[in-house]
Symmetry: C2
Subunit: 399 residues, 2 copies
Amino acid sequence: MTFHYSKKAASMRPSIIRGLLKQMADPSLISFAGGNPDPGAFPVEQIRAISDELLRDEASATLQYSITEGYPPLIEAGKGYLNREWDVVGEGDGVIITAGSQQVMDLFSRLVCDEGDLVAVDDPAFLGALNSFRAYGVRLAGVPLQPDGPDLAALEAILAGDEKPRFFYTIPNFQNPTGAVTSLEKRKAVYALCTKHGVPILEDNPYGELRIEGEGLPPIKSFDRENAVVYAVSMSKVLSPGMRVAFCVGQQALLSQMVMAKQGNDVHTNLWGQRVCERFLTRCDVDAHLARLRGIYREKALLMADEMERHLHGKIHFERPKGGMFLWATLQDGIDVGTFVQKCLENKLAIVPGSAFFVDESAPCQSVRLNFSTPTKQQIVQGVSIMEQVLSEMQQGAR
Amino acid sequence: MTFHYSKKAASMRPSIIRGLLKQMADPSLISFAGGNPDPGAFPVEQIRAISDELLRDEASATLQYSITEGYPPLIEAGKGYLNREWDVVGEGDGVIITAGSQQVMDLFSRLVCDEGDLVAVDDPAFLGALNSFRAYGVRLAGVPLQPDGPDLAALEAILAGDEKPRFFYTIPNFQNPTGAVTSLEKRKAVYALCTKHGVPILEDNPYGELRIEGEGLPPIKSFDRENAVVYAVSMSKVLSPGMRVAFCVGQQALLSQMVMAKQGNDVHTNLWGQRVCERFLTRCDVDAHLARLRGIYREKALLMADEMERHLHGKIHFERPKGGMFLWATLQDGIDVGTFVQKCLENKLAIVPGSAFFVDESAPCQSVRLNFSTPTKQQIVQGVSIMEQVLSEMQQGAR
């Protein structure tokens, strides 16, 4: 039988990156393409001990159905965790647990967007979020991302336009794909602009804890006196992505609607992951774990940056990473990015062309996104060497 | 800030049952309202041993991101499990893993329904599925459920109507809420009618393994030469609902679309649950486990039926359960169901009015749904006694 598909189905797109990940069964392939945590960053012994304790002492409660909002002790633990440095869960806000922050993107756009509606987004932005919004048939309005955050004039032009966007999606910390950090001034300005125009903000903060140096900046959510910000914090990068656990903070009225939407979507988030996460946050030394995590990523990020400066100087331009998992690298004019990506793949290095992350994927883009969290240090060195070799072959071919 | 909500959001409804479950923090309340497995039915020792082995030997692989389709060894194991008795995964079919079968309801309706479209459903039917469809703004056409399955004349009238439904949703085994089993003849007739009219079938089989006696009947999916049936099999009732793991079987083209929709929804199903499930299916004696499970539910089902016959004879009519988790009981005319449910709750017994499961919730309904899997045997006896007491008070009050 041939199925009839909805208009929404026609607007869905596969993720180029998750497609690449499927190819990665080939163990000889080096991947700078994904965004997997370093396996050494998982607190394996702690998780194993917690899990065994749960399945020994509270097995039935861990294997049973739970409530849609999330495991209540994890919600409480989450409030403490999220409010360690800044007042993120404020007056009038609640917290629910979702199956990764991807589900926040999905449920929030389902709740506030009709087909054809406009959504403003960082441009470029996290592809998974864009595809999640596109799946509801929305149109995306890109706000160009500058090294210090969204272009405020462009944002205001969209907010003040004839058609008000349903929300503005942004990652202020170590943005995916660019690694950009939105400055404190711009965070405040984004909040002021959006609330002035009555447009909610969907603030995604998966990488905030993965800073390489210095102090973190307060999330936009911490300025939110109007309950206008929906704030998603995934535990994938700090604990385990396989668990599929994230926190969503937002105004109570919205969260009630999200719970209703989640009931019909997956009933509740898997309980083992929620309970392991709760015990991890309440019984383990979270700060020590995060310090260890930062050490792992700092070392890899600096290694990739150093290798690129050493071997690709003048051929690829990039900002040294400040945190997160990605380095955004721009090739010299005249080098065709599609050919470069293809030749790297032929030489067993997977990277993602920057165009994949733009609202208009067909616009010219000289950049690629390089991930430093997944490859080993040896693979980082090898991968940069493959890029060097491919670039030099392309330049010779061009002569 | 006041949020703008989508048309879809306006058509979402909370689950009366999940609302009731939240009240159940009161430990003195007896619940015939939910649908939780008996905690004694979880194979705790096996799950604990498997989990510890996974976190000892393959921790990083268990905690890492995975592919959207599902953990490949679980897909393979699922094919074997699903095809034990009948050829369920047929030529041209594939299998993906979802976060419970609720996610199949959600993703399938997202893929094939536009707002305003018609969907045919068992009437009454599983409330979670109805709410999942309603969340996409569809209109529901109820096919009255008879003791041997859907009313074929009513089904054909809907299929042959001016507006073709996007699919027909049905639970042929121990239906929720009625406990009805669709006869073999009707299974074949439903398949023939739907394929004749080009309407796909969404066959939900969460309770198939929980039969009390005799042999099971082949799923509609096993007749499916046209790849017209999407078949959902939850592991919630046979292994653990907290894990949120289900199989979805369907034609490859549809599954590719579902994978794309799932990418944007939750990236992938939690990996610990998938891997535990895989080892359980491949290394444990699944038949012995299912036999034990059937023993637990048989005992509880028969106890509830016996107690009701003994204490409520002539006051409540019901069919003795053949399997599953529910008993559908119809009160004498003249007894107001709403008052009965309310007075039971005041006496610390939660039950769900049958009207909650109908497409038209406001139509008169003299039935209630009673769950026998969650309460203990002592609670079953007490609960029936509360119903007896409430009924006798109501009858005295009416005199």
